[in-house]
Each structure stands twice: as C-alpha cells, then as structure tokens.
Amino acid sequence: MKLGLKLALAALVVGLLATVPWWGSPVMVQFGINALILATLAQSWNIIGGYTGYPSFGNSVFYGLGGYGVAIAMVQFHLPFAVGLLLGVFLAVLFAFLLGLPVLRLRGHYFAIATLGLAEVMTAIVSNLEIAGRNVGLILPLLKGDTVFFELSLALLAVTTITVAWISRSRFGFGLIAIRENEEAAAVMAVNTTLYKILAFALCSAFAAIAGGIHAYWITYLDPSSAFDITLNVKMIIMAVFGGAGTIFGPVLGAFALSAISEILASKVTSLASIFFGLVIVAAVVFMPRGFADLVRRFRQQRWRYFQENIKAHRV
C-alpha cells in the first residue's frame, strides 16, 4: 500500500476514534484510554527496542517519572496539569540522558538487566522520597469526565506514531536500524552511535512520560508500585513484539489486540485473564517471534509452514 494511502487511512481511523466518547459506552471509553496509553508505551518502546535493537526493560521508569511529575506538581505545588506534564517529561529526559550514557554501552541482555535494575532502583528511591508521598503515594485532584483523557491519549498516540513514521524514513532512523543490525559497522560508517542511541532513548522517554502523566491524573492516585509497575515493561514489549517490532503500526495493533482480549477475559472470567497473558507470551515467542505484521506478510506465501519455519530456525 502506498504511503499516501496509508497515511490517509490512518488519519481517518484517528478521526473516527476521536468521536468515540460521544457515542461509545463509558466502559468503551475507559478501555480506550487504557489501550491508547498502552499502545503509546509499546510504540515508544518500539523506538529503542524495535528500531535500535536495544531491548529496554526499564521504560516503566519514564512512565513513572511522568506520573510523579504530574502528581508532585499538582499536589505539592498546586500547578496546572500541563506544567506537571512538562515536569514529568523533563525528569524522564534528564534520566534518559544521565543514565542512558553508561547503560547504553551495554549490549543485549546486559542492557535489558541493567534497565530492569534501574526500574527497581527508581521504585525503591521514590518510595523513600517525602515529596513523592513515600510509599503511601499521592492523591491527585479529581477531574470528572473521561472525554478529556481519551482525546489526550489519542493525540499522544498519534504524535508518537507519526514520530515513529518519520523515524522510519529519516536518516536518523536509518542510523538506528544500522545500529540494530551491526553496531560496529555502523560506527565505522560514521554513524555517531552514542548520540543516536541516547536520542532514541530520550525520545521514547518523553512519550512514555506523557503517557504516565495522563494515566496518573486519570486514575487520581499514584504510588511507587503502580507508577513504576515492572510488569508494564513486559506488557509493552510483548505488545510491540506481538504486533511487530520495528514497524510503524505493529505495536499499536499488538497493543489494541492484546488489550481487547485481556479486557474481555477480565470482565467475563477474571481469573483466566492472568494465565491468558502468560500463555499468549509463550505462544507468541515460539510461533511468531517477529510479530503479527511479519506473520501477515509471510503467511500468504508460506501458509502454515510459517510457524514451523519459525520453530525450526530457533530450536536446538
């Protein structure tokens, strides 16, 4: 499909979605907000994990910092929400730069573990900070009406996706992909790998932070374990991978699909929802590790052999 057509289609979908709060049920709006925020997280992870090939398990830090930026600004200093978002983004980007530098020197699973460690450290540090309400958390002012949050989340997802689309066609993006495929070669080809990696990290931190800020204000309550929820990391990664890491729309599709199924299960047979997630992860990693986008593309040629090929390529 031509790019122009794709963009037009995407714009149409966004326009349609924007009208949901007016005809959809409150539960649908609520589900929508959750799914949009998760999709933003998956998409932001896509930048550092999908395109650059650095699987970060610590994006929950940025999400949490965004949430706390909003919470501290609004609760401790009585500043407006927008200022809180800016504070959250500032904290997240600062963190990305300061800690990105040492941590991005690590490769593969060491990078993943380091970011996981950072997520744990931040949770523990924040639970000791008086200004953040320590482990008890902060209660934000109540804003009645979900429409605002829905539109904000939708706008955020749109901006994030447009950014990813831009990345995929820009010199910056090609540099990131080069880093993913072969970092040494990329460095030799005069790609400033350190700068590019840090920028990618900072970019994804900003989007994750805004998502966190919106979520915090919406839920009206924030404490370290919900703000820096470690399982969020795996959720956003699975959604991005399931949908197709390194593609423009993959993470969004993955996030919506998995959220929908999870929500249906949670409302009907609540206890099965958690095991569902586990089984999906196992199945996805075994049968379609390159995601849904890849599945769709190859299925046409290979049909059911696609799954077999995947297993053959990766098993011992």
Binding site: N34, T220, D223
Partner: protein
C-alpha cells in the same frame, strides 16, 4: 383464541414483573486471587453470605414491595489499577445501584475516587487509613475504625500491667494504613509514660527483620508494637524466635485474630497480643443472623474457615445499605447517600453509625493468644480476662 392468548400473555408479563421485580444490584471488586487473596476472600464470602441471608428474610423493603439484593463480585487479582477499572465497569456497564468496597486501605483509597466521580455511594469495610476520609469525599463510607486509633486500647492496657513496660519499639510497614497507625500511636504514646526508643519504618514487601530484631534486642526493649501485614508479622515472630528476642510484650495490628495465622505459627503464636474491632459474642445482636456467635458458627459451616472482623465488617456494609435504602425509601444514589450518613443501628458487627467524614468509630478490643486460643483481654469497659504478662523467654516455654 389469539386474543385470549395475547391477554393471557400480557397478564402473565404484568404479574411476572411484579413477582420478579428488578433486584437491587450491589457491585464489588475484591481480591479473590493474588497476594491479598488470603484476606480478600473474607469480603467476597461475607458479602455473599449477607446477601443470601437478607434475601431469605424477604429482601429490602421499598415502597410497597420487597426487592431482592443481587451481588456482582469481580476479582481484581490484588491489582489496584484493575480494581479501579472494575469499579468503573460495575457502575457504567453493569449499572449496579451501589458499591461495596475492597480489602486494604490503598485499594479503598483508589477505588473511592470512582464512587466520588460517578456519585454512587460505596461502603467499604477494608480500609481504615486516615487519607481515605481526610479528602472529605461524600460518597465513601467505612466500617473499619480509624487506623490512628488501633493501638489506643493496647496502650491503655499497657498502663495497667505490672511491671509496667517503659520502652517501646514501634515498627510499621510502608503503606497507607500502617503509616496512619504509627502516626496515631506515636501521638497516643506521647501522652503516656512510655518511651519509644526504636521507631522504624520498613518496606511492605520485607521478609527479613533480622537487623531490626537485633537492634531491638540490643536495646532490651520492653514492648514491641508492629503495624504490618500478616505475612510480615509471621516472619517477624519466627525470626524473633530464631534470634532469641524476648520482649515483655508484643502486639500486632493484624494476624492474631485470624485462625490460619495461628495455625501457621503453632505454639509460637502464644502470648502474642493483637486487636479486633469485633468479637463473635452473643451480646452483638443482629436482625438477620441472630447474634455474632451464631453468625460465626454458620459462617464456619458454610465456608470452612472461621470469620474474623473483616468478614463481620463486610456483613455490616451490606446491612448498612439495606437500612439506608429502607430509610430513604428509594434507590436514588443521592438520597441513599444521605440516609447512610444518618444510619444508627445494631448489627452482629456492633453499632453501625458513621461520623461526619464517613468513618465508623468502634473501640478495639485487645486480644491475646493464650494456649492456642484467642482470648479477649481488654475491652472498652476495661479488663476482661487476665493477660499473660510478661511473656516468658523462648527457651522457657
């Protein structure tokens, strides 16, 4: 023939709609699985039991009819975010009339924002921390007495013991409820002659208390007060034994009244003090269950484990709704909300009435585990039974 059938059908429908009138929907999101399921199940089971009993007695009187109660319980898997979403679902999709609360202060704190957002009254029996009520929300009510008062009666008892304990170690977990307890306890203790020599906040997920225990032992503290969760307190007691820490007295905010806690510790549970806002005595009369003792027996028969104050509190929540609906004679949320604020009746849980902030005020009865049994030792009117004090050393039991 056709007209007759039509007439018959219409009459059946009309008659049926009178017989099977719309039940009153109650919704709750409870920790049925996940790390708080151990206590969360008390709420799920007790809500169900109460609704069954009330329906068996005829239901709720509104206008000229009696309506049945219908209960929808969702499992939030001990995840606060999920419980918030489930309450929104209950209100907007399942269109319940009223909400019953979850267990735990941090859940109640987050979930009450939903009841406030949608102007639907919620009565919860699982959260006691001050923050739930200090926001002055109108639609949240609580049947657990204030966290800051939890150790009040214990401190009073300590003042009457001989030889009186002089030094206290105050330990508390990192969450809304326990921090509230500690703040209140510190204030209350400052009005006595007790001196708090160890004042330690610990992480809610902690399983290792060796350092704190070693510190307490080195200071020869007389009394240890712990505000925490069951699993932490369990670890604390066992580690106190392995490190041979022998205070004259120790008291815990949770665990002691629960049967499975005592079972898990066996003999080591002896001498521990705790508190409960409820004792299953015949003195507490109830419209539906007879009295608290009958309730406890029936509950044990029905669910296979003994109820404690969590379960009683949950039953109290349901009964409070019934009384409020009947008093308001309507299902209008605002009217029922005002009626709840004015209720004042006796139930198996005790006297149910809410203060201006929406919280109940019941005194805590001090209990002690003596020879494997839970014994109330000090109530609002003073000494009930002789407490076993001071606690003999671990080696000499």
């Amino acid at each position: 023939m056709k007209n007759l059938t039509l007439l018959f059908a219409t009459m059946t429908l009309l008659l049926g709609s009178k017989l099977f009138a719309a039940p009153i929907e109650l919704g709750a999101s409870v920790q049925l699985t996940g790390q708080f399921a151990n206590t969360g199940r008390y709420y799920g089971d007790a809500y169900q039991f109460a609704v069954e009993k009330i329906n068996a007695a005829g239901g709720v009187k509104i206008g000229n009819a009696r309506e049945k109660l219908n209960l929808k319980i969702l499992d939030n898997q001990s995840d606060v975010n999920l419980s918030v979403r489930q309450y929104v679902q209950l209100v907007t999709q399942d269109k319940v009339n009223f909400l019953l609360g979850p267990f735990a202060s941090d859940f109640a704190l987050a979930d009450s924002a939903i009841s406030e957002k949608y102007d639907i009254p919620m009565i919860q029996g699982g959260g006691a921390s001050d923050q739930i009520f200090s926001r002055r929300y109108k639609y949240i009510f609580g049947t657990l007495p204030p966290a800051s008062d939890y150790f009040q009666s214990t401190l009073e008892l300590m003042g009457q013991l001989k030889p009186a304990p002089a030094t206290v170690a105050l330990l508390y977990a990192d969450d809304a409820f326990d921090v509230s307890v500690a703040d209140g306890t510190r204030k209350a203790a400052s009005k006595t002659s007790l001196k708090i020599v160890v004042d330690q906040r610990y992480s809610s997920k902690a399983s290792d208390f060796n350092s704190i225990l070693s510190l307490i032992k080195s200071q020869n503290v007389d009394a240890i007060l712990v505000a925490g969760h069951e699993t932490e307190i369990l670890n604390f007691i066992r580690q106190a034994k392995t490190l041979n820490v022998n205070p004259k007295l120790y008291s815990f905010t949770v665990g002691v009244p629960s049967a499975d806690f005592r079972a898990a510790l066996g003999q080591d549970a002896n001498y521990a003090f705790g508190m409960t806002s409820w004792v299953p005595s015949v003195v507490l009369k109830d419209d539906y269950f007879g009295n608290a003792e009958q309730f406890a027996n029936e509950y044990k028969k029905r669910f296979g484990y003994e109820p404690d104050y969590h379960a009683a509190s949950a039953v109290g929540d349901v009964e409070a709704f019934v009384k409020a609906i009947e008093s308001a004679n309507s299902l209008d949320p605002a009217k029922v909300r005002d009626a709840i604020a004015k209720v004042d009746f006796d139930s198996l849980y005790g006297r149910i009435r809410f203060n201006a902030a929406g919280q109940i005020n019941l005194p805590q009865t001090v209990v002690q585990i003596q020879k494997g049994k839970l014994v109330p030792v000090y109530g609002p009117k003073g000494l009930l039974e002789k407490p076993l004090y001071p606690m003999p050393e671990w080696g000499k039991r």
